[in-house]
């Protein structure tokens, strides 16, 4: 019987670039930047890396397909490398593969790196392309990401009888909190505090989501080197061990899209992946046991319903938690402690590893006091790629012993 990978893998080092409109940097530059930080943190030589996984999503404006961009850019010497792609869970998939490679005993030291260069498209927002397949081009709605996710708000408001102006106020608070956290983070893309007044007065992007309900579209790269706990302890005897407690993925089966059993107001894969992750990590009461988290706030409403889908807030109870400051930096379960996708930025193929980087830094207490989560033991990360009705979700939990 499979028992998962809890405690079988340790994070030896991590690196993450400043996210943002990196007009001066190519995807290759970003890879070098994150990798150098990661390798330095791990304290090993490049030749010690036995295998690697590269995550990138958009082929069109990025490095291209295959694992070659990683190998050639970093000059990795003929080692096995695989490219992972799974929408916004792409980087977490690279991380998961690296963890599995170590847990399986196939390799001792493995690199996972996620990179995305989005600001060479020439326009705001994400490129469309054939991401949903050629058939979708013939029959799919002419949609964008904000419009897809905005529908959560209309469905949620109807389901819970929550007036739209109150929902708007709550999701405004979600964004205000992330902006406040990002003001303290020099690597974040958007570092200005915002007010409720500003959020509510912002231009409408896709009803009912305004400009400040949408995350930044950024360039960036993040990387992790993982190994066995034994090797980590040997290489870093004086540092707390950060171990992987769970990495889980759940993928829509088509039910939300085609079967009439979905309310349009929640993410079924998030509910499933988080349950499995808690099980793998041995977490029984996530609301109490999880110290902090980075969730996939591509839009404020996404974060809002995700609180419920992660089984942190009761169903229909996200409003109360948000408005009471439960997820604020000084709240009971700080969320988006580095600014989240909202403000740290969202280079698709790098985001999962960026979230892990945020948790890793917190667990090692490397961040300044002003944004340090006190007594953090368990950090959760959550990615969601696709659309509310058809998506890929990853949930990872890492912890300090």
């Amino acid at each position: 019987m499979a028992e998962g990978i809890k405690n079988k893998v340790a994070i030896l080092g991590m690196g993450c670039t400043r996210f943002g409109e990196r007009w001066e940097s190519s995807a290759e530059d970003l890879m070098v930047e994150a990798f150098v930080e990661c390798l330095t943190d791990a304290g090993i030589d490049k030749k010690d890396i036995q295998a690697a996984y590269l995550g990138s999503h958009f082929d069109e404006v990025n490095v291209g397909k295959s694992s070659l961009p990683l190998s050639v850019t970093l000059k990795l010497p003929y080692i096995p490398i695989t490219r992972t792609e799974n929408f916004c869970a792409t980087a977490t998939e690279a991380f998961r593969a690296a963890c599995y490679a170590v847990a399986a005993g196939a390799y001792d030291i493995v690199l996972a790196l996620g990179v995305e260069k989005l600001k060479d498209t020439g326009y705001a927002g994400l490129p469309g392309g054939g991401a949903l397949g050629q058939t979708y081009n013939m029959i799919g709605a002419g949609s964008t990401a904000p419009g897809q996710f905005a529908q959560l708000a209309t469905a949620y408001a109807k389901k819970y009888g929550l007036p739209m102006d109150r929902l708007k106020q709550a999701i405004a608070h979600v964004s205000i909190k992330s902006h406040a956290n990002a003001t303290r983070n020099p690597k974040a893309h958007l570092r200005k505090a915002i007010t409720e007044e500003q959020v509510l007065a912002a231009p409408m992007i896709a009803y009912p989501l305004g400009l400040f309900d949408c995350c930044g579209v950024s360039d960036g790269c993040a990387a992790a080197i993982v190994t066995t706990p034994e090797i980590a302890r040997r290489l870093k005897p004086n540092q707390d061990l950060i171990r992987v407690k769970a990495v889980q993925i759940s993928v829509s089966s088509g039910e939300e899209t085609m079967f009439n059993n979905w309310d349009g107001a929640h993410f079924e894969p998030t509910r499933r992946a988080s349950r499995k992750a808690y099980e793998e990590a041995g977490v029984t009461d996530p609301r109490k046991e999880i110290s902090m988290m980075e969730v996939h706030d591509c839009f404020s409403i996404t974060e809002f319903v995700t609180y419920e889908d992660l089984h942190i807030s009761p169903k229909g109870g996200a409003y109360e938690d948000v408005m009471s400051g439960f997820f604020d930096l000084d709240g009971q379960l700080p969320c988006q402690v580095d600014g989240g996708l909202k403000c740290y930025g969202h280079p698709i193929g790098a985001s999962g590893l960026r979230m892990l980087y945020a948790m890793y830094e917190q667990l090692l207490e490397r961040v300044p006091q002003e944004r340090q989560v006190k007594n953090a033991r368990l950090g959760l990360t959550h990615n969601l790629g696709g659309t509310p009705h058809q998506n890929v979700v990853s949930v990872a939990v890492i912890g300090r012993d």
Partner: protein
């Protein structure tokens, strides 16, 4: 017996006040003030002659068994394809079987009546039955032209068969003259016309009487035997002169709907016929004349079956379902007369994969999904493995038509980021009342009027246009219905 079994007519929702056109372009053609009255029906940005023909055809087919339909004749001078059977696309959208006759009729404006006659005669000869005759046009006049002002977009359809006819074919008379009043060459975008006086005096003035008299002579009837005379001629004074000459009384003179729709081309006589049939009584004789490079005159007599209501109320329904198009410039952009900038996002090159379309043509053109024979779950797009998690049957599916079902909005948005000719792009999740769901584009609606739970119908529309390869892609959109509960 050959005749019309049912009919439908369609005018697009948007109406542009001609006064607005004159305000914008009158400086260039002050004499157009005389035409600056009433509304011009304007196809939405996602409509064309073909989609309007489908709308009228669906009305005409309402309540009839699609399996009984023998084919589609499509008449238009503004078909989206020169090569690729336009009527074939309509067959797909109407959900017909493959073993049907389909043909495009074009060239002159009387193609509408010519298609109707061809269908009537095919049925009369017992070679064909239950043909859907669709006529639609979306003709363009250059900015500041008279045509821009008077033309309007519309469609009409009639099912022609041998049983249950509401109006029976009694006779016909045709003329053909290479009399060029209006014309468009191979590459023309805009209609061109010769002098009004020439069209009026030598065209309508001589050719309508010639056709009417020819038909009456062959039938051995006097015009007083007819309740309605239908003929296109927008020139008011000339119409009065022709009416007086032939003895057409005001009661017999069917309105051209110039003030409500505009001169609509090939569907003109059929739109007027649909209007006449909405009010016709058993025994009424109707004379329908199509005009354009000659005339077709068709003699129809209304039967008792008219009482079944198969004359339809599609036209009056369409006329009532209207929204003012608040901007002349919007009309110009929709018709690509003014090349508006949709932004870089719209410039992604999305190929039409014809082989892929062929494999999916029932879903794309006909909105067919599948129904699981094991558990009864209906699903779209068609699946091989049942989506019901408690079923999962493999290859136990039958085709299931969604196009005529009613749906309910379960979520929606108005997207200002998406490239759209009518922003915000409105779309949302729709659950069909009888099962199945899909994320549809919405059309013919305003964001402010939407609510979760609202009922929607479905309309065949242009999904995209690939300007580089001159390809129109079609699919279905949800059209919110008025009532909410």
């Amino acid at each position: 017996m050959a005749g019309i079994v049912s009919c439908g007519a369609y005018a697009p929702r948007y109406r542009l006040k001609r006064e607005k056109i004159f305000t914008a372009m009158g400086w260039m053609n002050p004499a157009n003030r005389a035409n600056a009255r009433g509304d011009k029906a304007v196809a939405n940005f996602d409509e064309d002659s073909l989609t309007m023909a489908v709308a009228a055809g669906r009305q005409a087919l309402s309540g009839l068994d699609r399996a009984e339909v023998g084919g589609v004749y499509f008449a238009s001078t503004t078909m989206p394809y020169k090569e690729r059977l336009n009527a074939g696309i309509i067959c797909g959208a109407l959900g017909l079987t493959d073993q049907v006759r389909a043909a495009d009729f074009s060239g002159g404006l009387k193609a509408g009546t010519s298609a109707l006659l061809a269908a009537l005669e095919g049925v009369e000869a017992k070679r064909l039955n239950n043909l859907v005759v669709c006529a639609a046009d979306c003709r363009l006049g250059a900015p500041a032209s008279v045509q821009e002002m008077v033309f309007g977009d519309a469609a009409a359809a009639a099912v022609v068969g041998s049983e249950n006819v509401i109006a029976e074919l009694r006779g016909s008379f045709s003329t053909t003259h290479d009399f060029v009043d209006h014309y468009r060459g191979q590459a023309a975008v805009f209609d061109r016309q010769w002098e009004d006086r020439w069209i009026r005096d030598q065209g309508y003035g001589l050719m309508i009487p010639e056709a009417v008299r020819g038909l009456l002579a062959a039938a051995g009837l006097d015009l007083t035997a007819f309740s309605k005379v239908i003929y296109p001629c927008r020139y008011g004074a000339e119409r009065k002169r022709i009416n007086k000459l032939l003895g057409i009384t005001p009661e017999m003179d069917q309105s051209t709907l110039l003030a409500e729709i505009g001169e609509c081309g090939t569907p003109q006589p059929l739109v007027m016929l649909a209007a006449a049939l909405e009010e016709a009584q058993p025994g009424d004789r109707i004379l329908v004349v199509g005009f354009g490079n000659g005339c077709d005159a068709i003699h129809l007599q209304v039967t008792d079956r008219i009482k079944t209501g198969r004359g339809g109320t599609g036209l009056s329904g369409s006329l009532a379902n209207k929204a003012e198009l608040d901007s002349y410039e919007k009309y110009l952009v929709w018709r690509n007369i003014l090349p508006g900038d949709l932004g870089l996002r719209a410039e992604e090159d999305l190929w039409t994969r014809w082989s892929l379309l062929w494999r999916n043509h029932k879903a794309v053109l006909g909105l067919f999904g599948s129904k699981c024979l094991k558990c009864g779950t209906v699903q779209f797009p068609p699946q091989r493995i049942c989506v019901n998690p408690d079923c999962g049957a493999v290859d136990e599916m039958t085709d299931y038509p969604f196009a005529d079902k009613i749906g309910r909005i379960s979520s929606y948005t108005g997207d200002n980021l998406a490239a759209s000719y009518n922003p915000p792009a409105i779309y949302g999740q729709v659950e069909f009342e009888e099962g199945g769901k899909f994320l549809f584009d919405f059309t013919d609606c305003d964001l402010d009027s939407l609510a979760v739970g609202q009922r929607v119908g479905f309309s065949f529309r242009r999904k995209y246009y690939d300007a580089k390869r001159d390809i129109v892609g079609y699919f279905w959109k949800a059209v919110p219905l008025k009532e909410v509960d």
